[in-house]
Amino acid sequence: MIEVEDLTVRFGKGKAAVTAVDGVSFTVRTGEAFGLVGESGCGKTTILRALAGLNEDWSGLVRIDGKQLMPKRERAFYKLVQIVFQDPYGSLHPRFTVNGTLMEPIKIHDLDRPDERIDRVLRQVGLGPAFRFRYPHQLSGGQRQRVAIARALILEPKLMLLDEPTSALDVSVQAEILNLLTDIRDSTGLTFLLVSHDLSVVSHMCDRLAVMNQGRIYEELTVEDLVQRRYRETYTRQLFEASLGYDKRLSTAQVKALDEAGA
């Protein structure tokens, strides 16, 4: 579904230029759920935004569904690839009702039977028709994220890009949203590319994952490898251990390494 070769994204020009993504390559098979894990600033979201067509300043070779991507996309591309953002409070237009938000993609792509589509997609994300004419401020965080997922689903894409879809939510709501995404994947066979800083979320949702740091992919492994601790990189081990909780002995040892890297 996705083939990325040597993707590089730079921000700024000349001396002040920052390389956010540095020659990244990976492949995601059709129907697979692939995770990109890393800490803030590692470039994982930047990759997602470049793939979604939100950033045109990138170089490298990207193929989605067999077609090579140009920085500028055709309208049909957006029917193929959709994105869900991290912050459900910021990703819905505050002046649009749920209906208005879901109506936009239908109008842009000139689809037929709008009411039927909206009702169906709202049911699919577990919101009844009662939610159709509410404004975002009348919804909880979890409900907003469901609307955001509905907005991505309404174009019936083949690839869904998920940018930390649950990191702004409480754990109990996170579980609901992750279950919803699992159900959607089961029923539609969508391909997922999930970006997260949370190794346990990625291991729950994905089949394979890539660990990123400082704009590069350190290593790629299957979730099975991860569970069996068959990682090669120290960095992956650190992430793994951190996800288990606090460990006094390990953490105290790490403090010493912080000073050089920290300042």
């Binding site: 067509g53 309208r75 953002f85 910021g90």
Partner: protein
Amino acid sequence: MTAAIETERSGLVGYLTAEVSRSPTQASLQRLYFGCRRFAQNPLAMVGFFVLVALILIAVFAPWIAPFPMNEQNLQTRLLWPSADHLFGTDELGRDIFSRVVYGSRITLQITCLVAVIAAPIGLLVGTVSGYFGGWTDTIMMRLTDVFLSFPPLILALGFVAALGPGIRNAVIAIALTVWPPIARLARAETLTVRSSDYIAAIRAQGAPAWRVVVKHVMPMCLSSVIIRITLNMAGIILTAAALGFLGLGAQPPMPEWGAMLSTGRQYLLGSWFLAAAPGLAIVVVSLGFNLFGDGLRDVLDPRDE
């Protein structure tokens, strides 16, 4: 469970306060209803609102309110002091000042509305386009705006009227030219914050063309601050119009424009102060009304503390 116990209010209020909206019209009407309720809770804003309603009513029903035709001269009864016949007295040509102030409301309303209708869309368009596209578009449009902003508004308006020739229509154009640049600046600043938000990224990721993003998604976010700004500017517009009238570059005699009336009244200030006081008071009241209304509007449209 609770839904069953909760008694639903019926009728119009029930429709407007219903927890669940059933149609887009209901959703937007509910928004309007709650906005109005908020507005009504602010007494000063309501004062402003009633001043504006009064202004509109007076302008519409001027011929019925005014006891005399606005331009009827009678040299026998010139410079009469306020009395039951002539509420605000008469001017140097024996015209009833009250009637002239009443008719003058039409001119004031006309000027403010026209300026708002011309300046707000221009400012909004220039600001949002400039802010959204950035780069060269932004540089060119903002430098142009800077040129307009670098003159004091009154001087700029004077210059334009001097070039175009005196008269109400030219005064409106001239004032509009001074009003749009700050609005463009404001709209641009709003656009810059809106542009980087996720909901704009989301609509772009759905393949919306740039014009659609600007018109449907960016503009509504800037609209409320533009409306607030232009309402608060109304006082300034009225004063500029009056100033142009005062300097003889706006409405031409014998039109009962408040500024022009003030200007002629100045010559009789010592003997017959009411000549200047009546239109002056009208200007103050209406300007204040617009300001109070604008402040109230800001609380409703721009609720930062929600």
